[in-house]
């Protein structure tokens, strides 16, 4: 696999190298530094190394994609933990012994953590959609934000992440081999409080209650530590999760998962794993839910069915000071969120949303107005996006991995492979005719010392954005949009399609197919680099094959836009 990736990388890298020469640049010029500011303790070391060799980010993201789809979930999780420069191992203990051990590990993980940490993170990331009323209010919010961030910076290190992630790995492992234990338990039909429908096993343990529901319809009215449901169209009502361990296995049926905050595979100061084997399911919650890890690990795996996921903020593969994963294997699915959703990472977080097949829709609702830039556009901060707390805390790694299918992505500001402040945001879409629609900072956009990548491997795709998009790097950042195959259409207004701004590097690579490149403003698009801090930014539009149409260029032609911007249609 790695050899194939290497050979593949060689092709476009060779073309890029040759293209840069026409503006007097070399591959060594495609570099940043990792010490523009003092390093905070939460920055991923991979970000430091990618700043030195930014183009390696392509191999990095493709290796994450490959591991996610081709390895076991346990191995995939271990590879994520390695990004924290930690190693975790599974010791495959017997079911209940392993759960007891998980519980102890989690207790150890938070033994020195102050109470206020949960509240602080909540206050920083969940807010009202109302606009700010006055400048005084803006200042008060800022001052409060500063003090919360300082607390977070100080106390975030008190969590023993090695213990936490070991517990996450062990629970994930248990969830995959629960049947060994299950076949030997004494199963007798009974009814218990807070569960409608028959239950075949119930036990109280130190870490919480274990419930096994039978093959008929069940309604679970509260959260239990361990639920194994053997079938039927079930409903799960969550209160806010209180325990530190949650594991839910649903073996079949069209199920409904209904929660509020901190629910549905949410690891919030704990670990949570939810596996739904088959059926058309609905997952609905508010904030911190549906494959979310906040000072914890939350993993949701839905193996089949046409599913609908609905949340508000911090949802659908979202991690901050922890790991959040949502993996959906088969079916045509709909994902809806409003902010920090769909492969999102905050500080010291990894958030991954992976969907293997099906025609899927990724929708970010317009709820939180972007009052810094517009009165009529909305923050998305989603769909392969990562942001930290500038200038104090680095971002994390937020990735949306799409396998096959004709997919639809809708966002507004900051979406679809976008990173902000020492982090990485990326989408990898494997195949299908896809539609990407956003407004700004999207579709391979890095902003303020960060990486934003969009890699689309196959299909006739449409990319629509207003600006700072489609391979745009702003402020010492790298933005890459790399489309490998298909007849694609790129539509933008300004500062897009291979645009570097404020010493950023923006690259749009289209390897093959008959493509159309449309822009309104020609002075800062299609291979453009501006001049800032007494030197240049780099912008490259690289089309390697096919009969294409441009606003600025032509087939088999090179053109320059500014001193450091180059567009080349090679063949």
């Amino acid at each position: 696999m790695s050899i194939v990736l290497f050979l593949f990388a060689q092709t476009w890298l060779t073309y890029l190298d040759s293209s840069l020469a026409f503006v007097g640049l070399t591959m060594e010029d495609i570099a940043f530094r990792s010490d523009y500011t003092i390093r905070d303790p939460y920055r991923f070391s991979i970000v430091d190394s990618l700043l030195i060799s930014p183009l390696n980010c392509m191999d990095f993201i493709l290796s994450v994609d490959s591991t996610f789809w081709n390895s076991s979930e346990v191995k995939m999780f271990k590879s994520m933990v390695e990004l924290y420069q930690l190693r975790v191992e599974d010791d495959r203990r017997e079911f209940k012994e392993a759960l007891d051990e998980c519980y102890q590990l989690i207790e150890q993980a938070y033994s020195e953590t102050p109470q206020g940490l949960a509240d602080v993170f909540h206050k920083l990331t969940v807010f009202s959609p109302e606009m700010t009323h006055s400048i005084d209010e803006e200042r008060e919010n800022e001052q409060r934000g500063d003090s919360l961030v300082n607390f977070l910076k100080e106390e975030g290190t008190t969590v023993r992440y090695d213990k936490l992630f070991t517990a996450g790995l062990r629970l994930l492992s248990i969830s995959q081999r629960y049947k060994e234990w299950f076949k030997n338990v004494d199963k007798r039909s009974r009814s218990i409080e807070d569960v409608e429908g028959a239950v075949v096993y119930y036990e109280r343990c130190e870490f919480g209650d274990i419930v096994i529901g039978d093959t008929g319809k069940n309604i679970y009215k509260r959260d239990f530590a361990i639920i194994i449901d053997l079938g039927g169209d079930d409903t799960y009502y969550y209160g806010e999760q209180e325990g530190m361990i949650h594991m839910l296995i649903d073996e079949s049926g069209d199920d409904r998962y209904q929660g509020d905050n901190y629910s549905i595979a949410c690891g919030h100061f704990g670990v949570s794993v939810l596996i739904d084997e088959t059926g058309d399911d609905t997952y609905s919650a508010e904030n911190y839910a549906i494959g979310c890890g906040v000072f914890g690990v939350g993993i949701l795996i839905d193996k089949a069915g046409d599913d609908r996921y609905h949340g508000n903020t911090f949802t659908q593969g979202a991690g901050g000071f922890g790991i959040g994963i949502l993996k959906d294997e088969y079916g045509n699915d709909i994902y809806e969120g409003a902010l920090y959703a769909q492969g999102f990472a905050s500080t010291y977080g990894i958030g991954i949303l992976g969907d293997r097949t099906g025609n899927d829709m990724y929708i970010i609702e317009e709820r939180y107005i972007d009052e810094i830039r517009y009165l009529d556009h909305y923050l998305s901060l989603s769909q392969g996006f990562s942001i930290g707390f500038r200038p104090d805390l680095s971002a994390g790694i937020g990735i949306l991995l799409e396998g096959k299918g004709n997919d639809y992505y809708l966002g507004d500001i900051f979406a679809q492979g976008s990173g902000y402040w020492y982090g990485i945001g990326a989408i990898v879409d494997g195949g299908g005719n896809d539609n990407y629609i956003a407004y700004q900072y999207a579709q391979g956009a890095g902003t303020h010392i960060a990486f934003g990548l969009l890699i689309d491997k196959q299909g006739d795709d449409n990319y629509v954005a207003k600006g700072v998009s489609q391979g745009c790097g702003h402020d010492l950042s790298l933005g890459i949009l790399h489309d490998r195959e298909g007849d694609d259409s790129y539509v933008a207004y300004d500062l897009s399609q291979g645009a570097g701004n404020a010493n950023g590097i923006g690259i749009l690579i289209d390897e093959s197919g008959d493509d159309s490149y449309s822009v309104k403003k020609t002075h800062n698009t299609q291979g453009y680099g501006d001049f800032r801090r007494e030197y240049g930014s780099v912008g490259v539009l690289l089309d390697i094959g096919g009969e294409d149409g441009y606003r600025l260029g032509k087939d088999r032609l090179l053109w320059k836009n500014g001193k450091y911007g180059i567009g080349i249609d090679w063949q």
């Binding site: 020469a21 007097g24 060594e28 400048i135 009052e371 810094i372 517009y374 801090r533 007494e534 090679w570």
Partner: protein
């Protein structure tokens, strides 16, 4: 009198004006502009000038990027009268290792420019932090003061590329024919920021750089690219340069074609050019020329 001044100053809520002038929110843009203008007005009023400037300088340590930009814009607008207040506080590096206050001082002094900033700024060209050295060289260049020239040479060999870039930028602003060898050396630097700064410097020097540049052709592909980039701007099409349209490197040939304006020569180049990209480039170029 002092008592009255204190009363006057107290009546002006500088903090409020500052917050308003640096608001991030688009719906308060009108208030922002008005607060910005008011701060300038106060700085230009003899009664409030010192107080206003000292107040603004006291915020140099801010961590917020938009405040740093607003402070730069405010003090640039205030201009020369602000220099004294900034220089008085320049030794305060800031509250942590980022040295934000010092870097802001250097940035703002550069933006104001002039002979009077050189001495204060030049003290920092050997600073242990590369960001400070870089800011100092940039400020020296922006000063547009010939007094700064003698401080620049050391920075041209700095191990940090961004510091070299700033030193070359400064040199590009101030260089005379004496500095041509340094600038030609910069054309082959490993960092493009340096190479392009050297180009600007040589273009600024003008015709006097032509012969040394011609003599330097052939040492490296990268340097040749930039030599031609400068030469065609300086002296048009010279016979000895036209011979080099057969340079083996397509990027160098392209930059030569970019500089040529004689359609007869360009047509001759088109006939001999084998690279399809460059052929098409020449066709387009010929079509654009009168």
């Amino acid at each position: 009198m002092i008592f009255l001044l204190i009363i006057f100053n107290q009546a002006i809520d500088f903090e409020k004006l500052y917050y308003t002038a640096t608001t991030l929110l688009v719906q308060f843009n009108a208030e922002k502009d008005s607060a910005f203008d008011r701060l300038i007005e106060l700085a230009q009023d003899i009664t409030y000038s010192d107080t206003t400037i000292n107040f603004l300088v006291s915020h140099f340590d801010t961590k917020v990027a938009r405040e740093r930009h607003a402070l730069k814009n405010l003090l640039k607008e205030i201009g020369q009268p602000a220099i004294k207040g900034i220089v008085e506080k320049i030794d305060y590096r800031g509250s942590d290792e980022e040295s934000r206050s010092l870097r802001q001082s250097l940035w703002v002094l550069g933006e104001i420019g002039g002979d009077s900033i050189v001495e204060a700024v030049a003290r920092f060209i050997k600073d242990e932090q590369w960001q400070v050295r870089s800011a100092a060289y940039t400020a020296l260049g922006k000063s547009q003061s010939k007094d700064a020239l003698s401080f620049l040479l050391e920075g041209l060999g700095d191990s940090i590329s961004l510091v070299r870039k700033s030193a070359y930028y400064a040199l590009s602003q101030l260089a005379s024919e004496n500095e041509i060898p340094y600038l030609i050396q910069g054309l082959g630097d490993g960092f493009f920021g340096v190479r392009y700064a050297a180009v600007d410097g040589l273009l600024r020097i003008g015709e006097g750089a032509t012969n040394p540049l011609v003599e330097a052709i052939g040492e490296s592909r990268l340097r040749d690219y930039f030599i031609f980039k400068v030469l065609f701007h300086l002296s048009g099409e010279r016979d000895e340069m036209l011979e080099l349209t057969r340079h083996r490197d397509p990027a160098v040939r392209q930059v030569i074609y970019e500089g040529l304006e004689d359609t007869i020569i360009l047509n001759r180049c088109l006939e001999s050019e084998e690279n399809e990209l460059l052929k098409n480039y020449l066709i387009e170029r010929l079509a654009d020329l009168p």
